[in-house]
Amino acid sequence: MPRLLDIGLNELVSITKRMSDTAEEAISMAVNAYFEGKNVRDDVYEKSMKLKELKDEVRDLAFELIMKYQPVAIDLRTIESTLDASYGFSRFSRYALDIADLTNKLGNLTECDHTKIKHALSIVQWMVSKSIEAFETKNVELAKEVIKKDDEIDEIYNESLTNAAQMGKVEDIRCVIADILVIRYLERIGDHACQIASAVGYVVEGKYLPT
């Protein structure tokens, strides 16, 4: 017989799943539009608001479950980490919105060299999808891999900063700014993926994985 608490926990899981799907969509939508020079700010904004709503829903349900059932041990840790994760998902869309904003503010950037961004993007998208997978399957090993990947994206960001500083002659300042900013946003998304991965450790072993 399922415990009453389990019914609530399952509901929590299904909201979280909707959040992770929406967050992934927001990121790919924003980045693809950036490459293609399309303005999708409003669409991304809509997804971001949707995520904010779901985040509040998670919070309400989490506190309701804590109040009603006073969960302990893995039940409590699951709820705590779901709160962490839902915050992470909402941040994903927040940075996706920032990326979408760039086209909006700086104009069409399709002419710029996107090599670095694409490289960073591939890493971050992997991190996002794997952190979500690790969270849903409570896979600590996978979570650790996600956290390891964070160093790579940090490096790319630092590199792009140093490169920009050392650049003597600039052909298009807009490309440099956009480059740095997009990588910066991706790096932040990576950080939040790491936080989610770290929370997987908390659920399973009671200790956050070191990031």
Partner: protein
């Protein structure tokens, strides 16, 4: 934190049936230690071994050591031990045909610990500590049975405190009480921890979580896990603890 009571390799049998297996436990001083576990896991039996109540049951056999400040209580006079280690029971039963005053004073009288004048002070002090003084100060001569059950439980706590024990053992002290009385007793227990080392046996995990600093989980006569309460409830190390506290064992 200093250890007040140390239990070493404690085993208890009733007739041939063993109910406590090799229990080792260090109870920290001036803290509340809760013992939780399913019915019949031996938690009450363990508690009773700490003030030698099993001596009174011919069928019970106790092996092992219980050290109070490093001295084995099983090598001392049980009457002295029980004075130092007070016990509060599940069902508050005042002593028959005694007033409220006498119920608190009786322990001191039995042990010839005080003259009459001091007795009044001891009774008042004990009732104050048990948060009952204000409610009974004008009816000290009334029969103790006229009090409500919640008040009676505080009275039994007061009568235990009157002996100025060092340790308070409580065997499910609130399980016979309504929620309001339960809350009062819980607050009382937490307030008492500044002066006493307290061990509470409870089947109410939430209560253990609310009031205790340390929690021991017992299962089938063994201590499975002992840790700081917040840690044990958030992040139990043993699977069986996890199953019990999350309600997955019946």
């Amino acid at each position: 934190m200093k250890t007040k009571i140390e239990i070493r390799n404690l085993n208890v049998w009733f007739n041939k049936r063993q109910v406590i297996y090799d229990v080792n436990l260090k109870v920290p001083e001036q803290a509340i230690t809760a013992v939780i576990g399913p019915s019949g896991c031996g938690k009450s039996t363990l508690l009773r071994a700490i003030n030698r109540l099993h001596d009174l049951i011919p069928e019970a056999k106790v092996k092992g050591e219980v050290l109070l400040d490093g001295k084995d209580i099983y090598k001392e006079d049980p009457l002295v031990v029980r004075r130092k280690i007070g016990m509060v029971f599940q069902k508050p039963v005042p002593f028959p045909s005694m007033s409220i005053f006498e119920n608190v004073a009786i322990g001191v009288k039995l042990n010839d610990l005080a003259k009459k004048e001091r007795l009044e002070k001891i009774v008042e002090r004990s009732l104050r500590m048990a948060a009952l003084w204000e409610e009974v100060k004008d009816i000290l001569e009334s029969p103790a049975t006229s009090l409500s059950v919640g008040q009676q439980q505080r009275l039994t706590i007061a009568r235990t405190l009157a002996l100025e024990p060092e340790v308070l053992l409580m065997d499910e002290p609130t399980s016979a009480l309504d929620p309001v009385s339960m809350k009062k007793i819980e607050e009382l227990i937490v307030n008492l921890k500044n002066d006493y080392t307290i061990v509470v046996v409870t089947h109410d995990m939430r209560q253990a979580a609310r009031i205790s600093d340390f929690t021991a989980f017992m299962y089938e006569g063994k201590i499975i896990e002992f840790n700081e309460t917040s840690e044990l409830f958030r992040n139990p190390k043993e699977e069986i603890t996890e199953k019990y506290i999350t309600g997955r064992i019946s």
